[in-house]
């Protein structure tokens, strides 16, 4: 009976360890993809903003518009396009939040893996799992406390709020 319990425990531990490694591997890949997305977005937006301001300067300097209205309409569209690039700030904040959360998750997985070395004894297994659960709760709370509310904006008119 004791041999069977030991086998079950070892099996559970092996399964647990495999699961942790699997999740850790995917979380690490996701973090890497996010970082690349952030870098690409950053570069693309900076180039866009340079281009928009260059066009804006050109338009401001030109005198050959048929009407003043045409000039003003174009300038207004350019201004709106440049202002829309504010989403760069908001999306970067969101990406950073995701990265912090994924890194926190990796840390949780690492901690749980380190705690997985136990002796083959049923009483110890239950106690151990309870300790792991308690540690998970503490780590989870710590991770939650790192975050302020996410920027809730989902469209470009979200700033049209009369505050004070």
């Amino acid at each position: 009976m004791k041999t069977s319990n030991v086998s079950t425990e070892q099996g559970l531990l092996t399964l647990f360890s495999s699961l942790v490694n699997l999740v850790d591997s995917h979380v690490s890949e996701a973090s890497s993809d996010l970082r690349n997305t952030e870098l690409i977005l950053d570069d693309a937006i900076k180039r866009l903003i340079d281009s928009f301001y260059a066009i804006h300067r050109e338009v401001e300097g030109r005198k050959d518009f048929e009407t003043i209205d045409q000039h003003e309409i174009l300038v207004r569209h350019l201004q709106e396009a440049i202002i829309s690039l504010q989403f760069h700030d908001i999306t970067t904040q969101l990406l950073q939040r995701i990265t912090v959360r994924l890194n926190g998750l990796c840390n949780i997985l690492l901690t749980v893996t380190e705690m997985s070395d136990i002796q083959s004894n049923t009483d110890n297994l239950i106690t151990h799992l309870q300790e792991v659960d308690k540690t998970l709760m503490q780590l989870n709370n710590s991770l939650h406390n790192l975050f302020a509310q996410a920027p809730p904006q989902q469209n470009m008119t979200s700033g049209d709020i009369e505050l004070f």
Binding site: Q86, D89, L163
Partner: protein, 126 residues
């Protein structure tokens, strides 16, 4: 009127600085977080602060509190321009003495209107 634009995001500083220039305000300096901003405020003379909230080191609320606590800076108008739209944050900014609060993303018209409102109020109290 000399403005100090405080935001850790260079794109946002550029957008705000250019908007201010288009509105006719050309005397503008920048800082990338609250600590740098406070340093500049203590060394140089500014007339208006436009600040983000979420910044590393000293955030926008802490900067606002530091400005209001300093007798040489306390009367400066501070406009919070931030992605934070949570009610508690808006209340905290008001209680800390923010002169105005606009949420990103905002339009040129919103910024213009808010600046005019604050400057008008400032001129009335002087």
């Amino acid at each position: 009127m000399k403005f100090l634009v405080v935001d850790d995001f260079s794109t946002m500083r550029r957008i705000i600085c250019n908007l201010l220039k288009e509105l006719g305000y050309t005397n503008i300096d920048e800082a990338e977080d609250g600590n740098h901003a406070l340093g500049k405020l203590k060394r140089e003379s500014f007339d208006f602060i436009i600040s983000d909230w979420n910044m590393p080191g000293m955030d926008g609320l802490q900067l606002l509190q530091a400005v209001r606590a300093d007798p040489t800076l306390s009367k400066l108008p501070v406009l919070m321009v931030t992605a934070e739209a949570k009610k508690e944050n808006i209340i905290a900014a008001a209680q800390a003495g923010a002169s105005g609060y606009i949420v990103k993303p905002f339009t040129a018209a919103t910024l213009d209107e808010k600046l005019k409102k604050i400057i008008e109020k400032l001129n009335k109290t002087e």
